[in-house]
């Protein structure tokens, strides 16, 4: 069973000629089947954590370790991490002009699974998942993320997750920019993958990054972590989320966060 262990992780963000420390010693362990919510104010480093785990070149790990089932993740390239079972649903998925979504999905599945899925099985798989996410079939013939609405982009990210079947899924503000219906559809997609992966004996571990408690009504977290100034300030159960909903982050930051 999968386990992601993050120990004393320090990360700096690299811009043209400066380097600024964002993560200041993150400790977090996600076991198979668990859902961890990370909540925190803007600029606390939540997205930096997500991108660092996936290996974005803009972020430099200065110390600490990340292990996936005991294997060093930080020495892996971005694609090796994906093939090892890490998935990041991005907040701002980029456009790839001229590449159809169907071609992209199949190439990705082939890379992650290590072999090309059988055509008939694959078409059915994609069709079923797209139906569940209430995506228009035309979608498959459009260029990757090009001209997608905010909601379409997020559904597309969840579609990729359910097709690539990761051991650990990091959802970076998947709820941002979604209306109530889209939020429900996307959340159901996540829950479905949690249930399916558990049934297949490979229960996914989820790291869910969000500003708002709204998505936690749909996706039940086992643990909630408050993230402040590049660290986990406090961990608890879903009652912690309720407290944040009522009082905001003021207890952790010492100042009221603008609405």
């Amino acid at each position: 069973m999968a386990k992601l262990e993050i120990s004393d992780l320090h990360v700096s963000v690299i811009t043209d000629d400066t380097s600024k420390e964002i993560l200041r010693g993150v400790n977090l362990t996600i076991d198979a089947g668990e859902t961890h919510a990370i909540m925190g104010p803007n600029g606390s480093g939540k997205s930096t954590l997500a991108y660092s785990l996936a290996g974005h070149p803009k972020y430099r790990v200065t110390s600490g370790t990340v292990l996936l089932d005991g294997t060093d993740v930080l020495s892996m390239t971005v694609d090796q991490r994906a093939r090892a079972g890490l998935f990041l649903a991005m907040q701002y998925p980029v456009e790839i002009p001229g590449v159809t979504t169907s071609n992209f999905l199949r190439t990705a599945a082939t890379a992650v699974r290590g072999q090309a899925p059988g055509v008939r099985q694959w078409l059915k798989e994609v069709k079923d998942e797209m139906e569940s996410l209430q995506m228009d079939p035309d979608f498959a013939q459009r260029s990757v993320n090009e001209g997608f609405s905010g909601g379409e982009k997020k559904r597309h990210e969840i579609l990729q997750m359910s097709l690539l079947k990761p051991k650990i899924a990091i959802l970076d503000e998947t709820d941002s920019g979604l209306d109530i219906d889209a939020l429900r559809i996307v959340s159901e997609g996540v829950n479905r993958y949690k249930a399916d992966s558990a049934a297949a004996g490979e229960a996914v571990g989820v790291l869910l990054i969000t500003h708002y408690t709204r998505i936690l009504r749909y996706i039940q977290p086992d643990f909630v972590h408050v993230f402040v100034a590049g660290q986990v300030a406090e961990s608890g159960g879903s009652e912690l989320a309720e407290e944040l909903e009522a009082d905001g982050y003021v207890r952790f930051t010492g100042q009221a966060v603008p609405a």
Partner: protein
């Protein structure tokens, strides 16, 4: 990247290995008995010799000799790619590889057959994906065939030498009528020493539904290939002509300098597709031009993947009202390559329209230039033209330039120009790699997407071929 140092080194070594493996696929050479004995350098005797061997009419010899003088007189063009290293005295201007042209595949000499087997021609012909085949090896066409049903409809598809013999009247009327010898230094050179190429005639109203195909192969080192193609599409007729080119990798350079003249008569349509994949020691200096009459349409689809230097600007002269010209061009400039390509569109009559879409990719210090001219002459009112050029830089040491010239001498015209230069972004690479694609696969996918608007215009098998060539070019792109 957070990769540990030892891992980066391992990846670097791997990239080098891939680089070494990704040598040019068509780089073998056959025995060179014919080429070895051929004379180097150019003078009047060489020109007379070629004409004599071909038993040509006197007027053609005169044209050749006049063109030779023009070639000698004209300076090398200096406005484009660097041509200063071409050693005209070291080039073999005529190499005869077989005694006779054959029409049955089995009759080809074994080494030539082997070459074309490897390129895949007999397969394409067998599967009837093409309406006719012409294969030029060195200076002459060694194999030529056309489907019987097309021949019966009066479609002519011959090598140009045979065309001159069998259709002397058409040649006297049209040869050099679109591209005169003195047009530029290399059209003069071609006119002086031309050999081989295709002659196509499509009678009135005949639609050739599947493409005619020509393959050009240089085998001899320091060879000059000067094929000459003449295509006449009669009123309301249609043809699609496709050419592919390969050569071995030698230490010193070869020269390919073709002239392609096309006449599309009233209401006719011609599409001319090139997938140029010369090895990277070939200078590819080609003049291609069409005269499009009233309501005629000319479409150039031009893919330049190989060659050391390419200078090629397929052109359309829109002579009659409502004539249309279009160029779809994709160029790939890798290490040591300069692709200087573009188009010329001349609007000479009212209501004419032209479109140029150019896409270039540069990597590993390669250089691609778009050079284009849109000219609207007085009287060509209500003409419209669209130019769109996009350049993609794969790394920071490669180069792309755009030289768009516009010359409008009429008030009532519509003209659009767009140019973009983009780089493969870290975020695009990251997105694809985070879905399991290696850096190389991710780059190739982005590049394929970039040229998709052109690939989709190609017949299926050529689109696949173009993608495959681009992928080969992108191998070892990660260092």
């Amino acid at each position: 990247m957070t990769a540990a140092p030892e891992l980066s080194e391992a990846r670097l070594a791997q990239a080098e290995t891939i680089d070494a493996l990704s040598t040019y696929q068509f780089g073998w050479s056959d025995s060179d008995a014919a080429g070895a004995t051929a004379k180097r350098g150019l003078d009047e005797d060489v020109v007379r010799g070629i004409s004599h061997l071909k038993d040509e009419p006197e007027w053609m010899l005169e044209r050749r000799l006049k063109a030779l003088k023009l070639f000698e007189r004209q300076p090398l063009p200096t406005w484009g790619a660097d041509l200063s290293e071409i050693d005209f005295d070291n080039i073999k201007y005529f190499v005869r590889s077989t005694e006779q042209k054959v029409t049955s595949w089995e009759d080809l000499p074994d080494d030539i057959k082997y070459t074309y087997d490897r390129i895949g021609i007999p397969e394409a012909e067998k599967q009837q994906m093409i309406a006719g085949v012409s294969a030029q090896y060195e200076s002459e066409v060694v194999y030529n065939s056309i489907r019987e049903d097309l021949a019966q409809q009066g479609v002519v598809f011959l090598d140009t030498d045979s065309g001159l013999k069998e259709y002397p009247d058409l040649f006297e009327e049209y040869f050099g009528s679109v591209i005169p010898a003195g047009d530029n230094k290399f059209s003069a050179l071609n006119t002086a020493v031309w050999s081989g190429g295709s002659f196509v005639y499509v009678p009135k109203g005949v639609h050739v539904k599947i493409p005619l195909q020509a393959y050009f192969r240089i085998n001899t080192e320091n060879m000059g290939q000067f094929e000459r193609t003449l295509i006449i599409v009669d009123e309301d007729a249609y043809v699609h002509y496709v050419e592919g080119c390969t050569a071995p990798v030698y230490r010193s350079d070869s020269l390919h300098s073709a002239v392609v003249e096309i006449i599309v008569k009233k209401g006719g349509r011609c599409r001319y597709t090139t997938i140029q994949n010369w090895s990277t020691n070939v200078y590819n200096l080609v003049t291609k031009r069409t005269k499009a009459e009233e309501g005629a349409t000319m479409e150039w689809v031009d893919g330049n993947i190989g060659a050391k230097v390419t200078m090629k600007y397929p052109s359309v002269w829109m002579m009659g009202e409502h004539a249309k010209g279009s160029v779809l061009s994709v160029a790939f400039a890798g290490k040591g390559q300069h692709q200087d390509t573009g188009s010329k569109m001349l609007h000479l009559a009212p209501h004419t329209s032209s479109e140029i879409i150019s896409k270039s990719i540069s990597r590993e210090g390669g250089r691609s230039s778009y050079r284009g001219l849109v000219q609207v002459n007085p009287g060509a009112h209500h003409s419209r033209s669209t130019v769109k050029c996009d350049a993609l830089l794969v790394d920071t040491k490669s180069r792309s330039d755009t030289y768009p010239y516009v010359d409008i001498r009429e008030d009532d015209v519509t003209m659009g120009h767009e140019a973009t230069v983009s780089k493969i972004s870290d975020d695009q690479l990251f997105y694809l790699m985070s879905r399991g694609l290696t850096e190389e696969e991710a780059m190739a996918m982005i590049v394929r997407g970039f040229i998709e608007p052109i690939a989709k215009e190609l017949p299926m098998e050529y689109a696949l071929e173009l993608n495959r060539l681009i992928e080969m070019q992108m191998e070892g792109a990660v260092g």
